[in-house]
Amino acid sequence: MDKPLTKHIKPGAPPLNIKEFLKVGGYAATTKALKTMSPPEIIDLVKASDLMGRGGAGFPTGTKWGLVPKGGESPGQRYLICNADEMEPGTFKDRYLLEGNPHQLIEGMIIAAFAIQAETAYIFLRWAYKEAESILRKAITEAYAAGYLGKNIMGSGFNLDMYVHSSAGRYICGEETALINSLEGKRAIPRAKPPYPATIGLFGKPTVVNNVETLAWTSHLIENGATWFKSLSKTAEGGTKIYGVSGRVKNPGLWELPMGTSMREIIEEHAGGMQDGYKLRGVLPGGASTDFLIDTHIDAIMDFSSIAALGSRLGTGNLIILDDRTCPVAFIHNLEKFFALESCGWCTPCREGLPWVEKILWAIEEGRGKPEYLDTLKFHTGYLGPGNTFCAHAPGAMEPLQSGLKYFREDFIKHINEKHCPWRS
């Protein structure tokens, strides 16, 4: 089975330096792209592959690049930003790629920047990823020294500077317009859309923001083509996906598998199944802001459209397991506490609504809940849902709550009736 993104990553060992990376064919795609392809050809190739963004939303990458005004339409600076602010609870795939193969990302960014004709690229890195930061800085220095960054790259006439920006915390920085504000040194508050970053982004210039895993694909697409990319997958959505599992399984971790691998295979084969004495009750398929799936969905196909058909989202593809010895109300309370804390405070429903939801859930968990609280929670899932808030933060927060109320309703009622959490002694 092909594992293009992770084949050169050896857990526990340092990543390939530039010499080693060149030996395994690294930067060949850069030379090919910059010397033999035009930017529109690269964008057409990415479009033909149907590569869907791996940051969680699954937006088609080629389309995003295609929205950037080109040449005469928009002279002057354009920017490429790699979103490496991985902060979705239960998600740890980008750390693996950043620490495991920094040159793969840098190469992907060079080609992406060439495709959109950006001469400056930033890696917006989560503050906590200190090891990734030093690995990236070293790799960038190597790439400059070898002539893959800087002026007139490989004699192509294309210039690119690349910087690492280490963040200062806050989940909302992962939202691309909030990230842009943060990179401009401001509070990370999302911007109104439209205009989209592709036309007015960083410092008012056309900007593309892509996730780490998305950009890591670029060089492989140049080398092997769109048909190859599609052939890696088990479904119509191409490529592989870095799936992960955390929670009470025997072997939590990350695996690069064909897109569309079943949830059963990921949990039972790769994660080794549940730990002894624990049963699976629920799964957040792609991070804290995705709707629950339950044990009857175990054969779900893990791609964007299949998970959407079940009422959830593939998100980051990193699964969080709810087991039978963890209280679902406490589990959901933990998620909502996170979202309430991480609200940027800009729009009222999110700033006021999320703490209210958190307080109600805590009251239920502590045995102070009343039957009407369930209705209050239910209407919040609507009032804080899509279309009622400035960005997707609060709607994301409502996903595990609305599905939790549906699948674990009896547990909520038990808390309220017994005035006590059944999971506490």
Partner: protein, 154 residues
């Protein structure tokens, strides 16, 4: 007053951006790196260098969770309280540290040795429960090994 090295580092950061105020977060991090936290006077000094008002700089400083506007201990313990660590039992780790050091989340020990803070997901979920002390990550915490880790920090 900012020290010469603080000023120098801030001016280097400014070079990476088309406008000086874009280096605001970096400037705050420079000061915090040297002093452990960011005091009011430094906020004013940063504002002056970047051509911003002190209130603007403070608006940025107070937004970001990793900029400290109050003094912290010599070592900051960041204990992940997000979902995977909760499922894997962060609570017992918290009570153990809290009892051992006599502080709760948000507090500093009276000898100024440790500040204990909750932290959102550290992206280390396959090794939960997880914490960071001064940017050093610790995996698969349990109450048997945690004392040994804490004793390493004077």
């Amino acid at each position: 007053m900012l020290s010469e090295s603080e000023k120098h580092e801030i001016l280097e950061e400014i070079k990476l951006y088309p406008y000086p105020n874009a280096a605001c977060i970096e400037a705050l991090k420079v000061v915090q790196h040297h002093r452990g936290w960011v005091d009011d006077k430094s906020v004013k000094d940063i504002a002056e260098i970047l051509g911003m008002s002190a209130d603007e700089v403070d608006g940025v400083a107070t937004f970001y969770s990793r900029i400290y506007r109050k003094p912290v201990g010599r070592h900051v313990i960041l204990l992940c309280d997000s979902i995977s660590c909760m499922v894997m039992g962060y609570n017992s780790i918290y009570y153990h540290i809290s009892e051992k050091l006599g502080i709760q989340f948000g507090e500093t020990t009276s000898d100024g040795r440790f500040t204990l803070l909750p932290i959102s997901c550290l992206g280390n979920c396959d090794f939960a429960p997880s914490m960071m002390i001064d940017y050093q990550l610790y995996n698969k915490l349990n109450i048997e090994t945690i004392d040994e880790i804490i004793e390493k920090y004077a």
